[in-house]
């Protein structure tokens, strides 16, 4: 069965192909130099009014409709992996705010298991750092990490470029003429690392989540939240918002939130900075769409928001007594010896969870412009 989005995308491709043919034949009929068929169409990226200015430098990669469309195909196409099966969209699925729904740790090529839970791809324009350990500081370089990871896509960019140059791939779920898409996006058929990464960035930059019930509340609709959700919001502001700060619901810092390390002893941020003081620290994730991004934490150890709240309320105390090396870098906000963690009653926890569900952005999760055009594998 072909979804409506798929039909739309296919007919869109056909229309563009027809346009190209028409433009070429016009040129042949008439010796007068025709103006070049218009370059890519600028895309008007609009910052949500209640959001801060983005940190991504759009001037180095101006968004165009054609660039975004190319990025969309690249994002979903398994061509990005060694086995041609796994795409970015395999572990970053729209209905789960571009996380790997239900997977504690993601599986990449050949069912190999990674070491960390897949992070949401949303509001990337505001992120100064990427990945749980913060190893990448420029969105344009982020895809390289997943591509080269032997348990994720296990591929190399030179090999991807060769495959993209070859045109529609036999066995692909739909024929995609990448040289043509690159021409439309960048003016020529040349396929480079830079163009590939910039197109992926363009698509990811359009993944803006700013239309949750909470957003409507922030923009003045008092009725967007019910009584329990408002109570939860006040509790959240008091207890959680020093880290999950502001409208993006993260302060973009790296913190140790009191998880006893698992067997692989993932030390997180210190593997990037080389600083012992950063051991066991991980990115403070945005809580936007947190209701649909389970499981939680960098290693996916918690399967529900109830477990997460009970971690902060009760488990941090046990962690402090665990004798683990990780206790040394526990975040000071959680390390009050008289009152470790964030003590909350069950009903307070329930209210906070009710509030967290108001961060679910159904418009974003169902936006057809962000959907798989029919090329991907959601495993």
């Amino acid at each position: 069965m072909m979804s409506a989005e798929k039909k739309y995308a296919v007919s869109g491709l056909l229309a563009l192909w027809l346009l190209t043919v028409v433009a070429v034949s016009c040129g042949k009929k008439n010796d007068d130099p025709e103006p070049e068929p218009g370059g890519p169409t600028p895309y008007n990226w609009v910052k949500p009014v209640h959001f801060p200015d983005p940190v991504y430098d759009f001037s180095k990669n101006p968004l165009t409709n054609e660039g975004i469309r190319l990025g969309m195909f690249l994002f979903y196409d398994g061509i990005m992996s060694r086995t041609n099966e796994i795409g970015c969209g395999t572990c970053h699925q729209q209905q789960a705010a571009f996380t790997h729904h239900g997977h504690e740790l993601s599986h990449g090529v050949d069912d190999l298991i990674g070491t960390r839970n897949s992070l949401a791809v949303q509001n990337m324009a505001w992120s100064p750092r990427f990945f749980w350990d913060g190893g990448v500081h420029d969105l344009d370089f982020s895809p390289l990490n997943a591509i080269e990871n032997p348990v994720e896509l296990d591929e190399s960019v030179p090999s991807i470029i060769e495959k993209l140059k070859a045109g529609p791939r036999p066995g692909a779920k739909m024929p995609v003429d990448y040289p043509q898409l690159f021409r439309e996006a960048f003016g020529t058929e040349e396929i480079t690392t830079g163009r590939t990464m910039r197109a992926l960035s363009q698509f990811m930059l359009t993944m803006v989540s700013a239309t949750s019930k909470y957003d409507f509340y922030l923009m003045g609709d008092q009725s967007a939240l019910n009584t329990q959700e408002k109570e939860g919001m006040l509790l959240f502001e008091k207890n959680c918002s020093s880290c999950h700060a502001g409208v993006l619901l993260t302060d973009h810092s790296f913190r140790n939130n009191g998880l006893v390390p698992m067997r692989i002893n993932d030390r997180g941020h210190s593997e990037i900075t080389g600083d012992k003081a950063d051991r066991y620290k991980f990115k403070v994730p945005s809580l936007r769409n947190v209701g649909v991004t389970l499981p939680y934490m960098h290693d996916g150890r918690y399967h529900s928001l109830e477990e997460v709240l009970s971690h902060y309320s009760d488990s941090v105390r046990l962690f402090m007594k665990s004798g683990s090396e990780a206790v040394e870098t526990l975040d000071p906000l959680l390390a009050n010896p008289e009152k470790p963690g964030i003590p909350l009653t069950k009903s307070e926890q329930q209210a906070i969870i009710a509030f967290l569900h108001t961060l679910t952005d159904e418009i974003f999760l169902k936006d057809p412009k962000l959907a798989d055009p029919g090329i991907g594998n959601a495993l």
């Binding site: 180095k60 420029d138 370089f141 390289l144 591509i147 990871n149 190399s156 910039r198």
Partner: protein, 257 residues
């Protein structure tokens, strides 16, 4: 049409007077030529080793004239990746050099912090971050930054799983938090010789890069048994600085022709 005219006007501008200077990076092991995959060598610790890969970045060249004046090769054309398995890459040609007599050269081993944090559009050619890590890739995708020197091989003292050793030394000093900085500046005097750059003549400076000095230097004698793999792990970072101090010393001048 107008654009075309402008373009041709631009290209008619006379190039500044100057010539070229070529530097050959000839990789050796002590007094022997380096041969990949086969010939066994021995480090000062007494460990046998075979080299399978030896790649390194050289960049930011500065040329010194006998009169003390300095020519800095422009930023956008100063990055070169030397690979032992690619002969052409071992000849670094510095173009549009002012004519004159040069008696020494200065260059960086590695890629400076500025270039390491530039937008993607400034990372073409040798700096393309999309290399294949299992092959010649010289970029850490998981920890954004270039690998400056990559030495791989096998040894009976290598890691117990496959007898191999892997040394990927990089780290440019950190993006927003200081980390170790393993770029090193190397200064090489051309003995008593001069590299005479004229418009018609491209002198070729022949330098050696000695793998033994990567292992054994003023800072440390690197033991394969003790360190079969060194990359960017937090625990290895202090030691990578010693290796960098070693590779700073691995270059020497041989001759000019």
């Amino acid at each position: 049409m107008a654009a075309g005219l402008c373009w041709s006007c631009d290209t008619k501008d006379p190039a500044p007077p100057g010539g070229n200077l070529r530097i050959e990076f000839d990789n050796v092991v002590g007094d022997k030529n380096l041969v990949l995959n086969g010939v066994s060598y021995e480090n000062a610790t007494g460990e046998d080793f075979v080299v399978t890969k030896f790649n390194y970045f050289v960049s930011n060249f500065r040329l010194y004239k006998t009169d003390g004046s300095v020519f800095t090769v422009p930023q956008d054309s100063c990055y070169f990746l030397v690979k032992e398995d690619n002969r052409a890459s071992q000849f670094v040609t510095l173009k549009n050099i002012p004519t004159g007599d040069y008696d020494h050269v200065e260059f960086m081993v590695g890629v400076d912090s500025l270039r390491n944090t530039m937008p993607e559009a400034k990372r073409t050619g040798a700096l393309d971050p999309g290399g294949d890590m299992a092959g010649d890739g010289m970029y850490w995708a998981w920890n954004s930054g270039y690998i400056f020197v990559k030495l791989e091989g096998s040894s009976s003292f290598g890691n117990p799983t496959n007898d191999k050793f892997y040394y990927h030394i990089g780290l440019y000093g950190g993006y927003d938090k200081p980390t170790v900085n393993n770029t090193r500046i190397v200064k090489i005097k051309f003995g008593d010789d001069l590299a005479r750059v004229t418009e018609g003549h491209t002198p070729e400076v022949h330098l050696f890069a000695d793998v033994l000095k990567f292992f054994d230097g003023p800072a440390t004698n690197l033991s394969i048994a003790e360190y079969p793999g060194i990359m960017a792990a937090e625990v290895h970072r202090p030691y990578t600085q010693k290796i960098a101090d070693n590779y700073k010393q691995m270059f020497s001048y041989d001759h000019i022709h």
